[in-house]
């Protein structure tokens, strides 16, 4: 295939997910809490559900990552959704159905799913 100048942009868009993942850029960030408690209550399935949603959506500007225990083990599995420029929101007692709703409503459209949310913001550090 011989490229035209405009093809560079197409390839670049195709690579955007990789590029963003490595440079930490992105419009939204999904973090699944995967400490022992999270994993024990099914965080792996929650993670897979988010990855499936992400892949199906074809969105390239969403970062997905995992982290450890958020400290509220009784409410696992948990995830944190952070839209760029807004404070992060923690979701608790996740199920695959909730993941679908959170992804569609919050990650894509920016509407917080109040009924599954624990609260906004981060813990105070220091």
């Amino acid at each position: 295939m011989k490229l035209k100048p405009e093809d560079l942009k197409k390839i670049s868009e195709k690579m955007e997910a990789s590029t963003n993942l490595r440079s930490g850029a992105g419009r939204a960030k999904i973090t699944v809490h995967m400490g022992t408690c999270g994993i024990a209550t099914g965080a792996r399935d929650i993670m897979k559900a988010f990855l499936d949603e992400l892949e199906a959506s074809g969105k390239k500007d969403i970062l997905f990552t995992t982290t450890g225990c958020a400290g509220l083990c009784s409410h696992e599995p948990m995830a944190t959704i952070e839209i760029k420029g807004e404070s992060p929101v923690k979701y608790v007692h996740l199920t695959k159905d909730k993941v679908k709703e959170i992804f569609e409503q919050h990650v894509i459209k920016g509407n917080i799913v109040e009924k599954s949310a624990l609260g906004r913001g981060s813990e105070r550090v220091g």
């Binding site: 100048p5 690579m15 994993i39 992400l54 995992t66």
Partner: protein, 598 residues
């Protein structure tokens, strides 16, 4: 395209590969599959990430988690803890020399924090063998811009205004050089990338070609457009097999995308590149020698003018730039001359890549803005001198450069600032020396190198360096004469003034600067028969301190020439007549009982 939640950016530069990075990659893939993570986490081979001292290294993205000194046997634990359970493993994180808390994030590590990446912008972020990843980071957009929106004159003006100067050592304005080749009459012109990096301890160009080969091709294509060339050569040392492999793969991929060949981007512009492997003669780094070698002739420099811009390869106008120079071009085009010239000092713009080696804690490849002090490079980025020893000097510019003593450590990096103190920026070698390095021996070492690499064409270089080497060798053997320093200075001046090319003209630099800043060491050798650094074998003796020796017999057993006598639990003695001064006794002694005296 499949989405992964994590990319493991594993360094596959030559340094890490020789530390078994590929075995580690296999172990990762094996363990990821074992935990059924292969569809979530992907291992990416990158080029050199710069921190060679701590290799094999890997950066986990997202998260910027930096792992160092990986070992195959630790991989199962690492995969289970970090990638399955989400708990980064401290054991493999970087621990700074003066701290006890591991630093997980790359961006928090001093070695990386003070660097500014332009030429190395893609290091560790892309797989060098994947052209799409290069394009994903604005790759080839500068070439597209040049071919569709700019005239050759505009390109030359942009490069000239950026203030970029030749990164191979000459420091000549790149834009002006392009202008000369552009203005030379003729419709057959050539572009050459000089990747014949030959300074001892230097690996800047090697690393750029290995980690980001397309940046060279894009730069060359832009240069070809500017001067009106349709063919380019990459002259690369055959000792760089990985660089050769990756540049060839890059050329093949670029041709498939129509980024090399006829009618690039459908604009009618034609340009292709071929790779020429050099046999490793140092003199081939000199542009006229390189061209002679490329033509199939003996690599001997010739008189300039005419400069290659007028009569180069096959007598046609030719433009030669070094790898690092080419790597800057696309950024200058994309971000503009004003941006580039805002970095650096009045006369030295942009950044410079250095290979930081020798007795420094953080050996590796660093890119810093011009104007940063030598002290910052060695102490902040390099982490200071190894084993708590005292800093003595740093040799910059390889065998053509000079040494910078401690009193001049605050000198800002720049072509003119270095020249003012008798050294050069050169291609970017930076060899750190500590109190145990004898400066006469340092001068002798570099002169032995240039003497062996002299092509033999000019008598002053061929014969003169030989005589200087004889004198230096004599001094290190304790047979120096009173007049030796004056003879060395006189010959340095003569060789510098009468050699045709830079190899001879700069060969005396290490001698001149060591005499200038460490004359007392020369005098100690000549007048007192002493080597203050206790390095010159002919001038030192190994002895055992009776009050420290416990009679453990370890040194006696390890001595390769049986020079040490002594009973178990009795004091040991070294026979100076038999001792070959190999230093093994000192290295094995657990009680610090072996001393070197001069």
């Amino acid at each position: 395209m499949q989405e992964y939640r994590m990319h493991l950016m594993l360094c596959a530069g030559t340094g890490c590969v020789s530390n078994r990075a590929f075995d580690i990659e296999k172990a990762f893939n094996r363990e990821l599959e074992k935990h059924n993570l292969q569809n979530e986490i992907k291992v990416i081979d990158t080029g050199c990430q710069g921190f060679c001292e701590r290799g094999p290294i890997m950066i986990v993205q997202p998260g910027d988690i930096f792992y160092e000194m990986l070992d195959e046997k630790d991989i199962p634990y690492l995969v289970e803890e970090h990638f399955l359970k989400g708990r980064p493993v401290e054991k493999h994180m970087y621990v700074p020399k003066d701290g006890e808390v591991p630093i997980p994030k790359l961006s928090d590590i001093g070695f990386f924090k003070k660097q500014k990446l332009i030429a190395l912008a893609n290091r560790g972020l892309i797989n060098p063998e994947n052209i799409d990843e290069y394009i994903g980071r604005e790759g080839y957009t500068a070439l597209a811009k040049v071919l569709t929106e700019m005239t050759p004159e505009e390109v030359i003006k942009e490069v000239k205004d950026s203030g970029l100067r030749g990164r191979g050592g000459g420091g000549f304005s790149t834009g002006m050089k392009w202008g000369f080749a552009h203005n030379s009459p003729g419709d057959e012109k050539y572009i050459i990338c000089n990747a014949d990096e030959g300074d001892p301890g230097a690996f800047m160009d090697r690393s750029i070609v290995e980690s980001d080969p397309h940046v060279i091709l894009e730069g060359m294509a832009i240069g070809a457009f500017a001067i009106g060339a349709s063919h380019g050569f990459i002259y690369v040392r055959d000792e760089y097999p990985l660089a050769v492999e990756r540049i060839n793969k890059a050329i093949k991929d670029a041709r498939e995308y129509g980024l090399l060949g006829d009618d690039i981007f459908g604009t009618g512009f034609e340009f292709d590149v071929s790779v020429n492997r050099g046999a490793g003669a140092f003199v081939c780094g000199e542009e006229t020698s390189l061209i002679a070698s490329l033509e199939g002739n003996m690599p001997e420099p010739r008189v300039r003018p005419p400069y290659p811009a007028v009569a180069g390869y096959k007598g046609k106008p030719t433009n030669i730039n070094n790898v690092e120079t080419w790597a800057n071009i696309r950024h200058i085009i994309n971000r503009g001359a004003a941006w580039y010239s805002s970095i650096g000092t009045e006369t030295s713009k942009g950044t410079k890549v250095f290979s930081l080696v020798g007795k420094v804690n953080n050996t590796g490849l660093v890119e810093v803005p011009m104007g940063i002090s030598v002290r910052d490079i060695i102490f902040d980025i390099g982490g200071g001198v190894m084993n708590g020893k005292k800093f003595k000097a740093v040799q910059t510019g390889g065998p053509s450069g000079g040494c910078i003593p401690e009193s001049l450590l605050d000198t800002p990096v720049g072509y003119d600032t270095f020249a003012a103190i008798g050294s050069i920026v050169g291609s970017g070698g930076m060899i750190v020396m500590d109190e145990d390095n004898c400066m006469v021996e340092v001068a002798r070492y570099f002169l032995a190198f240039t003497q062996a690499e002299s092509c033999g064409k000019c008598t002053p270089c061929r014969e003169g360096t030989r005589h200087m080497l004889d004198i230096l060798t004599r001094i290190t053997e304790g047979k120096g004469k009173e007049e030796d320093i004056d003879i060395l200075l006189e010959m340095s001046e003569l060789i510098g003034a009468t050699s045709l090319c830079a190899l001879g003209a700069t060969a005396p630099n290490p001698v001149l600067t060591t005499i200038k800043y460490f004359r007392d060491e020369y005098e100690a050798h000549i007048k007192e028969g002493k080597c203050p650094a206790k390095e010159c074998k002919a001038l030192i003796q190994y002895t055992i301190l009776p009050d420290k020796c416990t009679g453990c017999t370890l040194c006696a057993r390890d001595c390769p020439v049986n020079a040490i006598a002594g009973e178990r639990k009795g004091i040991h003695i070294i026979d100076p007549e038999v001792c070959v001064k190999c230093g093994i006794c000192k290295a094995v002694c657990n009680f610090d009982a072996v001393r070197i005296e001069s």
